[in-house]
């Protein structure tokens, strides 16, 4: 059995998940990264994307829309603004997210960032295959 890290996924409204995982794939703002046991202590912000967690029970994926992740040698805490397990995600919900992002992009003075968020969402949709 591979060594594990304590994985926590917290959204503003509730704690979504908390269990030991062997690896956590995080959609970081600067690119994806995978955290395993003994990872250097890092804090990274998230871009909209898929968060994949591999544990003894198999792989679980979550759709996250932003926030940050705190990685230490023994644990990974992801603080996501919105997080939904991929199995519960529907096409309609995803469309709503995209619509929200487009709306935000229209009023956001920082055009590049907002457009990037929309692009990330589209990329995630393709990846999730919904």
């Amino acid at each position: 059995m591979a060594s594990t890290v304590q994985f926590d996924l917290v959204s503003p409204e509730r704690r979504l998940a908390s269990y030991p995982a062997t690896e956590v794939q995080i959609p970081g703002a600067m690119g994806d990264l995978t955290a395993m046991e003994g990872h250097a202590a890092t804090i990274t912000s998230l871009r909209p994307g898929l968060l994949k967690v591999v544990s003894a029970e198999g792989m679980k994926a979550y759709v996250v829309t932003g926030g940050f992740a705190e990685i230490s040698a023994t644990g990974v805490s992801v603080l996501a603004e919105q997080a939904v397990p991929l199995d519960e995600m529907t096409g309609a919900q995803l469309d709503a997210l995209v619509a929200d992002a487009c709306e935000a992009a229209a009023v956001n003075p920082n055009k590049d960032v907002a457009d990037q968020a929309v692009a990330d969402l589209y990329a995630m949709r393709a990846q999730a295959g919904i």
Binding site: D8, S11, P12, A29, M30, A41, T42, I43, T44, S72
Partner: protein, 288 residues
């Protein structure tokens, strides 16, 4: 002296009132439990968020080039007070205590020559502030249609606050809410959200930051504002139900006392009437 019929009606109506207040108390108790659970569930996120942000803020400092949400825009002329109250009444001193604190602060600020602007959340506070501060109102967030306060509601408030800050219409933003301590005690609290204030935690763990510290902080600060507002809304929700519960408990007890008093008065007047009739009969018989 009210007639027997009046008294009887009166007792009946107080009994009905007692039934209603009793029911409201029980509803409030059930809602309180849910509100407390929601507040509890939101705590891990808020705590982590604050911990990470204070570590970041200590690293970046408030010097030149620091994000505006942290360092402020260099002025403190215009103060925006976000007054969060409930949408419904019948909750004891809940709304009044928040409004009192906000009014006190507003008076202080005006006396110091500052400009005060008020954003109200929840209509009860708006109604109370309307008399003295109507000219300072800049907006209102209506949550009366919202069954359960979600993060999205907090984001809406935060967006409005941040838009005002970025447009230079406000220099300092303070939120007013009741912190929940227990069913009988809620503490009216004023909390400054912009510029953000952190208690320095002292020991900060060494982290790699990706992207840079500044970029993460700039990304997190707006979320931090929303998180603080969300926490305040949840605390307020729990406080409201707690205050309503104890207010309704008192009302139920008072109604009970009133029923007892009225019943005694009713019985006395009934007996007086009987005695009076007997005396009339007896004195009538004696006169024969």
């Amino acid at each position: 002296m009210p007639s027997l019929k009046d008294l009887k009606n009166r007792i009946g109506s107080v009994k009905n009132t007692r039934k209603i207040t009793k029911a409201m108390q029980m509803v409030a108790a059930a809602k309180l439990r849910r509100a407390q659970e929601a507040a509890e569930a939101a705590r891990p996120f808020a705590e982590r968020m604050t911990a990470v942000m204070s570590a970041l803020a200590a690293g970046v400092g408030t010097g030149e080039g620091a994000p505006k949400l942290l360092a402020g825009n260099g002025q403190d002329q215009v103060h925006l007070l976000v007054v969060m109250t409930s949408e419904r009444g019948l909750c004891g001193g809940f709304n009044s205590s928040i409004v009192k604190l906000a009014r006190l602060r507003a008076n202080e600020l005006v006396a110091a020559g500052k400009t005060v602007k008020i954003l109200t959340v929840g209509k009860k506070g708006r109604e109370q502030l309307k008399r003295d501060w109507a000219s300072s109102f800049v907006g209102h967030v209506d949550l009366s249609e919202v069954k359960r306060v979600g993060y999205a509601n907090a984001q809406a408030v935060a967006r409005e606050v941040m838009a005002a800050f970025e447009a230079g219409e406000a220099d300092v933003v303070t939120i007013f809410y009741n912190r929940f301590q227990s069913v009988i005690s809620q503490i009216p609290t004023a909390q400054q959200v912009i510029p953000a204030k952190f208690e320095s935690t002292g020991a900060t763990a060494l982290y790699d930051y990706e992207p840079s510290e500044e970029a993460i902080l700039a990304d997190l600060l707006p979320r931090g504002v929303a998180t603080q507002i969300f926490t305040a809304l949840l605390e307020n929700g729990a406080s409201e139900q707690g205050a309503r519960m104890s207010a309704m408990d008192n009302a139920t007890r008072n109604a009970g006392d009133m029923i007892n008093r009225l019943t005694i008065q009713y019985n006395r007047s009934r007996q007086a009437a009987i005695t009076k009739e007997l005396i009339e009969i007896i004195s009538g018989a004696e006169a024969l």
